[in-house]
Symmetry: C2
Subunit: 201 residues, 2 copies
């Protein structure tokens, strides 16, 4: 088990996106300039990222697409075991995530969905079980769920977050506009569409 280098956040985000590009790159060789053209990142930045990562098999010839992809996957500690996730909030947006295609080809498995409305839990069809929100604590523990996607109404966001944290979840993808209050050990990534619109406008 090679030492997993500590990759800075900004670099990590880029490498994760690069992984997606490598997955569809048609040629078996790719250069830092190729990547730059596809992504808009400076070629020097890409080389620097890969240097931080400790990859150094590209000398003067560009990188082997597949080999680079594997190396990044390994260095980021992905591709390891699958991670169990849950969805909290089964309104229109949450229900859309019941679609398996979303996580297809990734190492994430959605193990459960929760909603505070019993009605929704009973009506919706899904490939994984749905539960009323008051069962979150024990289901999360029992299923070994470590990540959650939060798609509730804003007014419920903090309450549900508190429950997720109490149940021992390690990371939350926050699709609400609310700023979530979590202990430092829990990671939050904000992916709200309205917030994203504000950022770019």
């Amino acid at each position: 088990m090679s030492a997993i280098v500590d990759i800075p956040g900004a670099t990590r985000k880029r490498l994760l996106l690069l992984l997606n590009l490598l997955g569809v790159w048609p040629k078996d060789k790719i250069t830092s300039v190729d990547i730059s053209e596809q992504t808009g990142w400076k070629d020097s930045l890409i080389r620097h990222d890969l240097w931080l990562l400790g990859y150094n098999k590209g000398v003067s010839n560009g990188y082997q697409t597949v080999d680079l992809r594997d190396a990044i996957n390994q260095a980021l500690g992905l591709e390891a075991e699958t991670k169990n996730c849950c969805i909290v909030g089964l309104g229109r947006l949450g229900a859309a995530l019941l679609d398996e295609k979303l996580t297809q080809g990734s190492s994430f498995v959605i193990k459960a969905g929760f909603d505070s409305s019993l009605n929704r839990v009973e009506i919706l069809r899904s490939s994984f079980p749905l539960y009323p929100a008051n069962q979150m604590n024990w289901i999360i523990k029992q299923e070994g769920i470590t990540l959650a996607v939060l798609t509730v109404e804003d007014k419920e966001a903090q309450t549900m977050t508190d429950r997720l944290v109490a149940a021992g979840v390690l990371g939350i993808v926050n699709m609400t506009r609310t700023v979530l209050k979590v202990p430092p050990s829990v990671k939050v990534e904000n992916a709200s569409i309205v917030n994203a619109l504000k950022i770019i406008s």
Copy 2:
């Protein structure tokens, strides 16, 4: 029209989230320590942000909730005119966004939805019109649409992006895993759920 100060990206993102917090803050006064407790950001960082923004009405007493909110709104150039948006890709995720509630209370108005499947365009119900993707160019121009939310399948992502760019869109919220290639004048914010899961895990 006061000079709109140029706010650095990191600060801008925080202020946008802070706005949401201020909207639900129960007291009429708020201090940098209050904000720190709710968000996890260092109180000194918050004061620094507000300093950059040019706000300086808080001296030694904390900030007036409503006044601060207005000031941030104004400084970020939000709250100005409404921005016209469109949704590209009406699969399960895209269809979920047809719900008006999503943009409710924001200054974004969804003017159109597009999909390359005529079938979906005809079947789905929505509060704004849906069009086949080949009409994107003129509809976007006619409706004055400047922002797009991209919720297509990954394999269509770049093609649709090219069309959006050609039609003159200025920003894209990318809900796909694909790294989009756009000219420097077009802003992209990645909000893909699977990518977000990777970031936190």
